[in-house]
């Protein structure tokens, strides 16, 4: 559906060149919900804007249904954009138009007669659950309602793809869930391919089939959400899955390690054995683990008192039983 071939984007600023994207290859299949996750500044927003060429890549090609968008003349690109809709974190509704007027806008600009446009807009607003707020202006709507209007507006031109740029980041958890459910519904019922840009793992977890992890303008990991969750390979992904929190009391001399479980037996008392074997006072700082069919997956942060011998023993022991361990630097 959407394919990136070595897409790079460099911004020239007064402070020098910023490489927002470097040689990104990506293939998003038709009909799926694809997540793009990364921390802020990772290049997610630039990445999604390269999909409808709101940002033109400095080099590389963007294909939509095997049409190379970067080679299209402007008029044809505008036609294509009607098939690649977008919703935004700040909703970006026309403030001087009511909900109906907003949903009519994309139909108006593509030359749909007024009456037909209104009828379609009313249906779409019903579909997103706003049939009673058709004549409300954006200022009279809540955040969740505004995003629903934006979704109805994005669907007006019967798009094949819906790009969601941090679409739930300005919403509270309850509203986020409702909007994500709506997106999932749209994906299932209308077969619209959805691309979700987010910095929240929860969003990916809730609706995405596949995910790409972006860091410093590069895709560090991509695959099925389940696999990435259960067995994150890159440090970036691990951090996103189980963020290392600031503010642990580090007054005592201790060292912090991140353990990754990727399929050890969940019956084995790893930490208890570690304490007994190494005679180390292990402190569990936090964990996010899951038991899938008797196997342990997830991440754990532990602290051990500063002592070269003990630390070496702990590392050895964990390596022996196959738990991946990396030291976290707190300094």
């Amino acid at each position: 559906m959407i394919r990136f071939d070595k897409v790079s984007k460099t911004f020239v600023t007064t402070a020098g060149e910023v490489h927002a994207l470097s040689e990104i290859d990506l293939n998003i299949e038709k009909g799926c919900i694809f997540g793009v996750i990364g921390s802020s500044g990772a290049g997610k927003s630039t990445l999604v804007r390269c999909m409808n060429l709101l940002e033109r890549p400095t080099s590389g090609d963007v294909y939509f249904d095997d049409v190379n968008l970067t080679k299209l003349p402007m008029a044809e690109l505008r036609q294509m954009r009607r098939k690649i809709s977008m919703i935004f974190q700040q909703f970006n509704l026309l403030e001087q138009r009511d909900a109906l007027g907003n949903v009519c806008y994309p139909l108006e600009i593509s030359g749909v007669p007024k009456k037909a446009a209104r009828e379609k807009a009313v249906k779409l607003l019903e579909m997103v659950g706003l049939s009673d707020r058709i004549h409300s202006f954006p200022a009279q709507l809540s955040g969740g309602q505004k995003q629903r209007v934006a979704i109805a507006r994005a669907l007006a031109t019967d798009p094949d793809v819906l790009l969601c740029d941090e679409a739930t980041s300005a919403l509270d958890p309850g509203t986020t869930k409702a909007i994500l459910d709506l997106l999932k519904d749209i994906n299932e019922k209308l077969g619209v391919t959805i691309i979700v840009i987010t910095h929240e793992m929860k969003v990916v977890e809730q609706i995405c089939d596949k995910v790409a992890v972006v860091h410093n303008g590069e895709v560090v990991e991509t695959g099925e959400v389940k696999d990435i969750f259960l067995n994150p390979k890159s440090k970036v992904t691990q951090q996103l899955l189980f963020p290392h929190k600031e503010g642990y009391d580090m007054t005592e001399n201790q060292r912090v390690f991140r353990l990754s479980f990727d399929g050890q037996s969940s019956n084995e008392p790893v930490i208890a054995n570690l304490v007994l074997e190494c005679e180390a006072k292990v402190n569990i700082l936090g964990a996010s683990t899951e038991d899938v069919g008797g196997k342990a997956y997830g991440q754990m942060l532990i602290a051990i008192p500063e002592d070269e011998m003990k630390v070496a023993r702990v590392k050895n022991y964990l390596n022996e039983i196959g738990v991946h361990v990396i030291e976290e630097s707190y300094k």
Binding site: Y105, P106, A139
Partner: protein
């Protein structure tokens, strides 16, 4: 002076002043809106970014704006005669008023358009809008309340300019104030014209603000 005579003079002055001000404002907007739009869209990051067009237009606008109105009034007398055939009276005053007000209006329009949220423009682009659609269906409608506030400021400024035209044979309340009050030392008449001008400004200001608030849909 008889009261009847005074009322005649003053009502004539009011009509002339309003005529000059309103016609000049309408014409200044007719020219000023396109210039303001071009200034906005050709600016850095605009939908039709063009450094050359933007700088040239910007310089012309700034040049015209820096000429004091009273000097502009005299300097373009030949142009005024060419356009309306005379340099005296209310109609002749409209020409320099439009020339002076257009660049001012253009900057006001530009600044109103700058208030439109960039995200909304981006959304319109993402839906496949062309530049004309963005200007006519997004920029101007979204900036409407601000444009109306701007036009209120513009019309009162133009009214002030029109009073100055009295010095070089223009019409309206300004001419009455200068002819009777300044040249003939009839201070009471001068005072009346000033009071009338203040009232007209008040009415314009109040009406403009009310319309702007009423049309703005950003209220709850």
């Amino acid at each position: 002076m008889e009261l009847n005579q005074l009322i005649d003079i003053m009502s004539g002055g009011i009509v002339e002043s309003l005529y000059m001000t309103v016609v000049s404002t309408v014409l200044a907007y007719l020219f000023g809106i396109p210039i303001g739009v071009v200034l906005f869209i050709t600016d850095k990051g605009g939908i039709a970014e063009n450094k050359n067009v933007n700088s040239v237009l910007g310089i012309v606008v700034n040049l015209l704006r820096s000429v004091p109105f009273i000097i502009l009034l005299v300097a373009i007398l030949p142009f005024t005669r060419f356009v309306v055939g005379t340099t005296i009276g209310a109609t002749a005053t409209i020409v320099p008023l439009v020339v002076a007000a257009t660049p001012f209006v253009a900057r006001m329009v530009e600044s109103s358009l700058k208030e439109v949220d960039g995200g909304v423009i981006e959304a319109a682009l993402s839906m496949g809008s062309n530049n004309w659609q963005i200007i006519t269906k997004v920029l101007i409608p979204e900036a409407k309340p601000s444009l109306i506030v701007g036009s209120t400021i513009a019309i009162t400024t133009i009214l002030g300019y029109s009073a100055m035209a009295g010095f070089v044979g223009g019409g309206g309340l300004g001419a009455i104030g200068i002819n009777y009050g300044y040249y003939r030392y009839q201070e009471d008449i001068m005072l009346i014209t000033v009071i009338l001008l203040v009232i007209i400004v008040q009415v314009f200001q109040e009406t403009g603000m009310r319309i702007a608030t009423k049309t703005d849909k950003r209220r709850r």
